[in-house]
């Protein structure tokens, strides 16, 4: 099992994998925030820009926090889905 895991995930690429997850997660969260901000600005704020920036900030912040958690090997962070 461990051998199979090792062959599928070589030890030198451990950190790169983590980086992949973190970056994709941050992108997704930022995108979500951006989207929410756009919708909010259109619906409630008469197309002003600040809700969009606020949304992007929320998303990026969320992504950063989760990335930290991922690197620190704590229980926090994005939920892990067993394939």
């Amino acid at each position: 099992m461990s051998a199979v895991a090792q062959t599928s995930k070589p030890s030198q690429s451990l950190l790169n994998d983590k980086w992949d997850v973190v970056i994709s997660n941050t992108l997704v969260k930022t995108g979500l925030g951006f989207g929410c901000g756009v919708v909010a600005s259109v619906l409630f704020f008469k197309r002003r820009a600040f809700p969009v920036w606020l949304g992007v900030g929320f998303g990026a912040g969320r992504g950063y926090a989760e990335g930290d958690a991922i690197f620190r090997n704590s229980d926090a962070g994005i939920r892990s889905v067993k394939a």
């Binding site: 090792q6 030890s11 030198q12 690429s13 451990l14 950190l15 950063y64 930290d68 690197f71």
Partner: protein
């Protein structure tokens, strides 16, 4: 005495009773008078009269009934005497009457005084008259009879004139009796004639005396004769009984002796049979013992003969035994030499197998080591050290083989940049730390040679040097000193390097052992 007592008691009782009965009587009279009065005067009404009469009747009946019941039952008696006036005295009176009646019946006397209970008026008069009459009559009768008796006695004394008959006796009576009878008859006749004389009486007396003497003498003689007869008979009886006893004794003795004889015969018979049986048994036993002894002797004899024959043969046989022992020794030597040869063969084969394995791991490409190890295992047999060495070879090597030193060096070169990126990571780094490490690791100078220091650059340079020298063991040890993320990243390389060193070491052990096999021979 008794009679006088009873009389006095009855008198006293009578006096006490007369007053009470008088009172009862007067009340009855009063009632009667009331009744007559009420009957006479009809003005007050028939209802009252009727009521009075009924009440009187009822009270009288209930009174009488209660008294009667109290005579029969003790509890009713207690109630009646407690609550009803005059009942106590009346009951006592009735009981006394009863007692007197019973007493009269027992003694058989009937003083008329008690029998007349219902006549209180003429009571005393009636009592006195019959009582005196009875007494006087009894006394008179007794006096009369005694007087009559005294008057009649002189009349009886007068004897009437009678002629006495003569005494007749049978003719064959004794002479003396006849004589006395004659004398008596004479006296009777003279009495009849009333000419009684003294001589006749004397005569009679003499004859009677004679008779008396005769009778006494005859009695005496009879007594004597009877005594003698009795003695005789007693003697005879004694003798007869003695004889009988003797005869009985004889017969019993005879029987006893006979019986004894019979018993003795039986006993003798038994004894004889027993003696015979014991004799037989003893004979049998003796025969058995004899036969056993005989057999034993024979056996001993056979044994002796065998011994003698053996001792005679032993001289020749001993030489044969020596020969056989020398043959056995030879056999042993040959077998030993065989094993030695076999062992030498084995050792050679082992050497070859180990040489093959060591050449295989020195190949430029990784080769599957399974068949080589199997060959060594086959030759090694039961050698514990070889077995243990083979068992400790990692199983992945069987199919995958081990990386060559050149390969290991190339791989180290491959992972170097990755490890270098993580070289500046602080402990428990987040995104910022990782990013910083990646950026600032680009600015690090590469080292070469054998620099001292714990930093990643110096470790890498030392490891590379060791790998170039072919010293994989030291290179692995250097890389093993990494910590944190760098060590995690170098995990795969470390694994491979360890495998390689292990296999190298085990092959060395095997070859040393194989050398030992050669030495053993």
């Amino acid at each position: 005495m008794l009679r006088s007592n009873t009389i006095t008691r009855s008198r006293a009782f009578q006096r006490a009773l007369s007053s009470r009965t008088a009172s009862v009587h007067t009340s009855a009279i009063r009632q009667n008078a009331g009744a007559t009065i009420s009957a006479g005067t009809k003005t007050s009404g028939g209802g009252f009269k009727k009521f009075f009469a009924l009440a009187a009747l009822f009270s009288t009946v209930s009174y009488g009934g209660l008294i009667f019941a109290s005579l029969k039952n003790d509890t009713i008696h207690g109630y009646v005497t407690d609550f009803i006036p005059f009942s106590d005295s009346l009951i006592v009176w009735i009981e006394n009457q009863r007692f007197q009646k019973r007493f009269r019946a027992n003694t058989g006397q009937s003083p008329p005084l008690f029998s007349s209970s219902a006549l209180p008026a003429g009571f005393d008069v009636k009592v006195e008259i019959p009582r005196s009459g009875v007494n006087s009559r009894a006394i008179d009768s007794s006096a009369n009879t005694t007087k009559k008796m005294s008057q009649e006695t002189p009349i009886v004394v007068k004897v009437p004139e009678v002629i006495l008959p003569l005494i007749s006796i049978p003719k064959d009576a004794d002479a003396l009796i006849t004589k006395s009878t004659e004398a008596l008859n004479e006296l009777i006749s003279q009495v009849n004639d009333k000419s009684v004389d003294e001589t006749h009486v004397k005569n009679v007396a003499a004859t009677i005396n004679d008779l008396h003497s005769f009778i006494t003498s005859t009695q005496k003689s009879l007594k004597e004769s009877l005594q003698t007869e009795f003695n005789k008979q007693v003697k005879a009886l004694d003798e007869a009984s003695a004889q009988e006893v003797k005869a009985l004794e004889d017969t019993w003795l005879k029987r006893y002796q006979e019986q004894q004889q019979v018993l003795l015969d039986e006993y003798n018979k038994k004894l004889a049979t027993e003696i015979q049986a014991t004799k037989d048994a003893i004979n049998g036993l003796a025969a058995n013992k004899l036969t056993s002894l005989f057999v034993e002797r024979e056996q001993q004899y056979a044994q002796e003969i065998a011994n003698k024959v053996e001792t005679e043969h032993e001289g020749r046989l001993s030489k044969l035994a020596e020969l056989s022992s020398s043959v056995a020794e030879l056999e042993e030597i040959t077998s030993k030499s065989n094993t030695v040869i076999h062992q030498a063969d084995n050792a050679v084969r082992l050497h070859r197998a180990i040489a093959k394995l060591s050449s295989a791991i020195k190949d430029s490409k990784p080769v599957a080591l399974g068949p080589f190890i199997a060959a060594i295992e086959k030759v090694a047999g039961e050698d514990p050290l070889l077995k243990a060495a083979i068992a400790s070879i990692p199983t992945s090597v069987y199919t995958e083989g081990v990386l060559t030193p050149a390969q290991l060096a190339a791989r180290l070169k491959l992972i170097e940049p990755e490890i270098r990126k993580a070289s500046l990571l602080p402990e428990d780094a987040g995104i910022a730390g990782h990013l910083g490490s990646i950026i600032f690791s680009k600015l690090l100078w590469k080292k070469s040679g054998a620099p001292a220091g714990d930093d990643i650059e110096s470790i890498f340079s030392r490891a590379e040097v060791f790998l170039e020298q072919g010293n994989i063991y030291e290179a692995v040890a250097e890389i093993n000193t990494l910590k944190g993320w760098p060590k995690k990243l170098a995990h795969d390389w470390l694994d491979q390097g360890r495998k390689r060193t292990e296999v190298d070491f085990l092959i060395q052990v095997l070859s040393e052992n194989a050398k030992l096999w050669g030495v053993k021979l």
